[in-house]
């Protein structure tokens, strides 16, 4: 068999000169402007910005829920045409199907894609224990706490083994304690699979703790102000947030945010 030509290392996600406008109440609103942005395979990329800066819009375009007004969105070597299981999403709200049990929520994807049960069953069992939900398989979402629901939301997409995991402020609606637990869980998951992640947040510490790169966005219309590489050693744990290197990075990011706030206020 002839050797196939080796493909150039393709990007997990790429936005080329992307603009997005909405019509809201009869008025045109520019959400993001001239975005050039890429996520490398196995990278944990965070996008950091104030609420309303268009960072969720950016993620929705990669997910295929929204189309750009101008420019191109690519993922895994193909233009994004619509939602696809290779680009799975964890939303800010758990968005579980309330009429399905935890187990049926997690197997929704594999069943829909006709994955044979003998393939997904062991994966589901492993995931349930990994996210600490053994014994809750037959519970309905209404019987779970906010943190548990979000874990189901994460298990539901990890079972698909997506090429790119999109997370839209996934811990934003959780209390501070639960958020820390979830961040550690996500770090653990990342160590295990080196899962490519695009993570949207407004929490500076969360972005620095989790990500390999943090892209700071401007206020609306959102642009990428600066991309910072987070060269903190892995595996990481929560105590990293007290290290000098972490605080140095945090100062840098906060300075960027302050600068941006002043610029926005001056306009």
């Amino acid at each position: 068999m002839a050797e196939r030509p080796r493909a150039a290392p393709r990007l997990a996600a790429e936005l080329r000169d992307v603009w997005k406008e909405f019509v809201k109440g009869g008025r045109r609103v520019e959400a993001v402007r001239a975005i050039d942005f890429a996520v490398a395979p196995n990278e944990f990329a965070a996008i950091l910005g104030p609420s309303g800066c268009g960072k969720s819009t950016l993620l929705n375009m990669v997910a295929g829920f929204d189309r750009p007004t101008r420019g191109q969105v690519w993922a895994n070597g193909a233009p994004v045409e619509g939602p696809d299981p290779s680009r799975a999403v964890v939303f800010q709200e758990p968005a579980l199907f309330p009429w399905y049990t935890v187990l049926d929520n997690i197997t929704f994807g594999p069943k829909t894609r006709r994955v044979p049960p003998e393939v997904y069953r062991p994966r589901v069992a492993a995931l349930l224990s990994q996210v600490g939900l053994e014994g809750f398989a037959s519970h309905y979402p209404a019987e779970l706490s906010g943190g548990m629901k979000q874990r189901v939301g994460i298990a539901r997409v990890l079972v698909m083994e997506p090429e790119l995991l999109l997370m839209d402020e996934p811990f934003g609606s959780l209390d501070a304690q639960t958020r820390l637990v979830m961040q550690e869980l996500l770090l653990e998951v990342w160590e295990r699979r080196h899962q490519t992640v695009l993570f949207v947040t407004h929490d500076v510490e969360e972005a620095l703790l989790l990500a390999d790169s943090v892209s700071v966005m401007t206020a609306r219309p959102g642009r990428i102000k600066k991309r910072i590489t987070v060269e903190l050693p892995r595996p990481r744990a929560l105590d990293l947030t007290t290290s000098p290197l972490f605080n140095e990075l945090k100062r840098e990011v906060l300075a960027l945010i302050r600068e941006e706030r002043l610029r926005a206020a001056a306009e």
Binding site: G64, P83, F91, P98, W99, F108, T112, Y140, E143
Partner: protein
């Protein structure tokens, strides 16, 4: 008495007592309104009496008439649900279907089913088909409107979740939209069965010669108000029972929703 005691029995007993006193003291026109005891006795004979042997032509015919009416309600209701639920799903889901079908539904809906009576008799004659047409039409509107409403109320986030998990439109419709609309659909079914009982009485009073509606009108003509009142109670009871059946089926399908309400 405990707070969960049989308090619901209090008001009916009070009303029954008031009715009894009003008749025996002749507060209302004497001889027109029968006393509760008289209604109870006639009703009992209507149910358990031997047909043909008694002086009353109604003796022992209750079950047969109930079966006539209940069967019509059931058949009409099944037709209404069979057309109304799928149509409601499509109107709610597809903008093109909504634009083509919905205006006609909304225009026809204000026409009361009683206004359809002459049309129904002209087309179907005084047969079962006419009654079924009225019942199905009456029950159809609340079912289709509530189903449409339920579909349109589906959470956008759940639709996005299903799509990013790989679901195509048929799967989204079956696994997300339908279960999400189910509470609304059951509301429509409950309203629909109520209209169905209204429609069956109207249809039987005029368009067919059997069932509780026919007995009601017939008894009125021959001055048997006791039978009229017993019929009213019968219809009320049957309406209540059919509502409970649908409610029970709803609880069976909507276990997750019960959990949500208490959670």
């Amino acid at each position: 008495m405990s707070r969960r005691g049989p308090w619901f029995i209090l008001l009916p007993l009070l009303l029954l007592g008031l009715w009894h006193v009003a008749v025996t003291r002749q507060w209302v026109m004497p001889g027109i309104i029968p006393a509760p005891a008289q209604v109870a006795e006639s009703w009992q004979r209507w149910i358990f009496g031997k047909p043909g042997l008694s002086l009353s032509p109604y003796s022992g015919t209750w079950v047969a008439n109930v079966v006539y009416s209940a069967r019509r309600v059931f058949e009409g209701f099944v037709i209404a649900a069979g057309v109304g639920i799928p149509l409601g799903l499509f109107i709610g889901w597809n903008r093109l279907v909504a634009r083509i079908v919905d205006p006609s539904v909304q225009l026809l809906r204000p026409v009361p089913i009683t206004a359809w009576l002459p049309f129904s008799i002209a087309v179907f004659g005084i047969y079962d088909a006419g009654a079924l047409f009225l019942i199905a039409l009456g029950a159809f509107y609340p079912i289709v409107v509530n189903t449409t409403h339920g579909v349109r109320d589906t959470n956008l986030l759940l639709l996005r979740a299903a799509r990013m998990l790989g679901a195509g439109e048929p799967t989204v419709l079956r696994k997300v939209v339908l279960p999400s609309a189910l509470p609304s659909i059951f509301t429509g079914l409950r309203l629909g069965v109520g209209v169905a009982w209204t429609a069956v009485i109207v249809a039987e009073m005029i368009a067919v010669k059997s069932g509780l509606g026919y007995v009601l009108w017939d008894a009125y003509y021959v001055g048997r108000m006791d039978i009229c009142v017993a019929t009213m109670f019968s219809v009320g009871l049957l309406g209540f029972v059919s509502d409970r059946i649908i409610l029970g089926a709803g609880h069976l399908f909507l276990r997750w929703r019960v959990l949500e309400a208490h959670g």
